[in-house]
Amino acid sequence: MVLDEEVFAVVLALSIVASALGIALTLGPGNPEPFTAIGLLNEECKIGGYPATAVNGSGVRLCISVANHLGHPAYFKVVYKLATNESLPNSSSPSPEQAVMEWRAVLGDGEERLFLITAPVYTLRGEYRVVLVFELWIYSTSGGGWSYTGRWNHYHISVVV
């Protein structure tokens, strides 16, 4: 049996599709969907098991994970703020509260960094139920300094006096 013409046409079509796909991947952008990520973990750097209460003026040990998938190295900082339900950040604007602490990191493309931190917790304007907010900021020389990435983590905690 010699090579059937229809089978040959199908094999040829498959090779053309595979070749076109390979060329598109080679010439396309290195990272088609660039993104950054921030994660909130417990003091063992694992998900879950976050403290529900904290003594006023004490520190809560947590772990913050920051990942860079922008396709190039970047300079980040995590800004810690104590907030209430009314002053939470959203994807376009950060929390209006004052920054309590900051942690900086330079990450290469595809790199992740874990920060083991102690976040001070205290009552805020008489509120015993406060929110620990961790915002991710990125430095851009063209954008004139630090800018909010729109990514944040928060969790509620009860302050015990």
């Binding site: 049996m1 010699v2 090579l3 040959f8 094999v11 040829l12 090779s15 053309i16 595979a18 070749s19 390979g22 060329i23 080679t26 010439l27 290195g30 190039h72 190295p73 970047a74 300079y75 942690w103 900086r104 990191a105 330079v106 990450l107 290469g108 493309d109 790199e111 430095y139 851009s140 020389t141 300094g145 630090w146």
Partner: protein, 146 residues
């Protein structure tokens, strides 16, 4: 006496803090800007196919030293990072040409696959077809029909 010392010491301390605070802030801003400029230069090198792992490591060390309050060490790491970036920038053109050449070669190789399939597949198939059957004996007319 103790009270009077406290009286004049407190304004002096407040004045010191007020004078030092902008200096510290300026120092932070300087470092941030310096790190960001080097990160930008490293990003450009990265897009040209240069390995920037060493620069990122040095910049991370600088930021870490700064976070621990060791400004001198932070600036030392920054200077080292700057030197590495300058050295990498010298060879960046060559690395970029290599990257381009590699891309062109990959595209040429991928584009040649359908042509190779079109030209070689029937020949290869026939070659294998005959090779598999090379020990076959053809008798004509078929046995039993004579």
């Amino acid at each position: 006496m103790v009270l009077s010392v406290r009286l004049w010491l407190t304004p002096v301390l407040v004045l010191c803090i007020l004078l030092l605070a902008p200096m510290l802030t300026a120092r932070t801003e300087d470092l941030d800007l310096e790190v960001a400029i080097l990160v930008d230069r490293a990003s450009k090198l990265h897009s040209m196919g240069v390995n920037t792992t060493n620069v990122v490591e040095k910049l991370s060390s600088a930021v870490e030293a700064y976070e621990h309050g060791d400004f001198e060490k932070a600036w030392a790491h920054l200077n080292e990072a700057r030197k590495i970036v300058e050295e990498l920038e010298k060879g960046a053109g060559e690395a970029y040409s290599r990257l381009l050449l590699l891309k062109v070669a990959t595209v040429a190789l991928l584009a040649s696959i359908p042509i190779a399939v079109y030209l070689l597949l029937p020949r290869a198939y026939l070659y294998l077809w005959f090779r598999v059957r090379r020990k076959w004996v053809v008798r004509w007319p078929p046995v039993g029909t004579r």
